[in-house]
Subunit: 382 residues, 2 copies
């Protein structure tokens, strides 16, 4: 129940990667046959991954992670457009790798607007329109939120940015390979995605950069990836990423339908628990995501008790689990800190079956009840 943290790789992906670890291990920049072979595998992979977002393959570069892609976008667009302006807009519910990079840029003299969202986590188009200034060089709004699963109106946002002639980036880490993503239809200038959130290997990300967009590299060096991202190309990882892109292109639609049913059952049944609340939008959400807050208890205790019962889940996002701060996403949709602390994220995937959902629905009410009995927040509850 924690597929949004990371996923096991699809066994077909591992099989596809194997030869590139052992036999076809060449450096894609080498001039000999081993290099040419690696280069070919790289370009075929680029086509497959681009195809799943309707992008031209030559507009796609590979990075080491979604975090790297996001860092590159914010810093690279700002540095490349210093003469044009020094203002960027990000939504208040972006992943930490956008928020923290934006904060770092603020220290370097960049002005950042953190765009508010409504109670479902949705960005308002009029608010965005008003926030765009003459010196705005970038708008970055995620496709789907990693905690509450809310899907943003990316197509409309893209259209607005195109009209206003402002560069538009979307972090599609949680949506790529799960729901349709189309850079042309959605008017996207830059798109971040990665492999490990969708049954591919860790350590492989990609960045779509529409032709004509000016951006500076984050990693300088040997000039790989059209001079935009230096570093020996991780061919085995990229082949793995391409394999899952090809698989998801075929299986994504039926899987989304299947997961939506499971998700809705999970939501309906868990909301029967007293003082439980859904976070995020009831329908405009990722097929695999359910997120709740329960009054009077700590999300962390919920995770521990679910884990004792064999269920992996999360509170906030996996990436910020070290932190004691309440989730900035939950605060942005209007929760109080104590409510945000009582959150639970359940995210499903391709190996989740109805029995798993039934089991969670069976054990969760008892765990909530138990924790509320010992809750310091409401003495004598239950």
């Amino acid at each position: 129940m924690d597929y949004s943290a990371t996923t096991p790789i699809d066994p077909r992906v591992l099989e596809a990667m194997k030869p590139y670890f052992l036999k076809n291990f060449g450096n894609s920049m080498s001039l000999h046959s081993w290099g040419t072979e690696a280069k070919e595998a790289l370009e075929i992979s680029r086509e497959k991954i681009a195809s799943l977002m309707n992008a031209n393959p030559k507009d796609l570069i590979f990075t080491g992670s979604a975090t790297e892609s996001d860092n590159m976008v914010l810093k690279g667009i700002v540095y490349a457009n210093k003469d044009k302006g020094k203002h960027i807009i990000v939504s208040a519910i972006e992943h930490d790798c956008i928020i923290e990079t934006a904060k770092w840029l603020e220290k370097q003299g960049i002005e950042v607007t953190y765009l508010p969202v409504d109670k479902y986590g949705i960005v308002d188009l009029n608010t965005l329109k008003k926030a765009i200034r003459k010196d705005t060089v970038l708008v970055s709004i995620m496709h789907a939120n990693n905690e509450i699963g809310t899907i943003e109106p990316i197509e409309e946002i893209g259209k607005l940015c195109r009209e206003k002639d402002v560069c538009f980036h979307t972090d599609a880490t949680q949506s790529y390979g799960k729901i349709p993503t189309d850079v042309k239809r959605m008017n996207i200038d830059l798109l971040t995605c990665n492999a490990h959130k969708v049954y591919g290997p860790k350590g492989v990300g990609a960045l779509y950069i529409r032709e004509g967009i000016e951006i500076e590299p984050l990693l300088h060096g040997g000039g790989h990836e059209f001079g935009l991202r230096s570093s020996t190309v991780n061919v085995p990882g990229i082949v793995g990423f391409a394999t899952i892109a090809e698989i998801q292109k075929k299986e994504m639609k039926s899987e989304a339908t299947r997961l939506t049913k499971l998700r809705d059952k999970l939501i309906n049944d868990i909301l029967k628990i007293e003082d439980s609340h859904l976070n995020g939008h009831p329908t405009k959400r990722l097929p695999n995501n359910a997120n709740f807050w329960f009054a009077y208890i700590e999300g962390e205790s919920l995770i521990v008790h679910l884990n004792i019962n064999g269920v992996g889940a999360s509170t906030g996002s996996a990436c910020s689990s070290d932190s004691l701060e309440p989730s900035h996403v939950l605060l942005a949709i209007g929760l109080k800190p104590e409510q945000a602390h009582g959150s639970l994220r359940l995210t499903m995937g391709k190996y989740t079956v109805k029995e798993d959902v039934d089991y969670v629905i069976e054990i969760l009410p008892e765990i909530v009840e138990k924790l509320r009995k010992i809750s310091p927040f409401k003495k004598g509850y239950g």
Copy 2:
């Protein structure tokens, strides 16, 4: 004959990685059992990789590549020490990922000294001493050069930097796991290494940061790796890296002895070719590296003809093979551009046997002869 470009992974490494792809796939930041298991694998790996450079494990962070580690060092040290100074020193023969990052920093107002080297590629201590200024915040000199294999006097350089109270970084990408590397004995403050140059997976690097060194992150986000490098941790890749570190700790010494013999045979026999010259130092060089220049011919043609005969080799470094510029390393050791263009790098590894070396020695003279006959540089040669 191109192991310095990249290496196949050791089959034992793939075996060690497998469970972390499929079963133990957790996110190291998750609070449940899958996360804890990943976190444990991460910390055990950190110990193994640190051990091979005599570092405290808590001083080691993981990155996506040596390029990323090097970029992080130069930018991270400069940004963290803005109030202390704006001058850095790098050797003239550093890898492109240092040179290009230094050039980028120059555009941001940082002063860079590109330290000259002697005809063998060795940095002179007195020259370095004179170059260090009160506002110098970093000295970055590689352990062993990727093209000519020259090993720098790192221990003495480290001692000098420590005396002068200047932060010292070494790029040990070509030396880690091949020759002894000891951050304590060598007075190293920061050290870059990676896995794919030494039979580990691509897409995994590490950076040693001595306790107390102030550095800013390059990747901002979820706060992984002690807050210094955000991004979901690539546990399978890191487990692979650790496995090879453990193997090399045992096998490195005997392998270096074996390769040194093969290298010296290669050098002695190839230098019998008329107008052939060794690049780099005769003895202070990596056990697996031989590098030459041949008058009147193009290195690229050599590569093509060796490849036709089943031998993979390189001219310049793999990373800059797209470029028509002569190698900056060869120019720095005093070669003229036309001489640098006639270079050949032969680098061996654990699967190179005496028969391979004999074969290269057999075919190379004929190839050189043939190319010189059609050379536009010296009509009628031979």
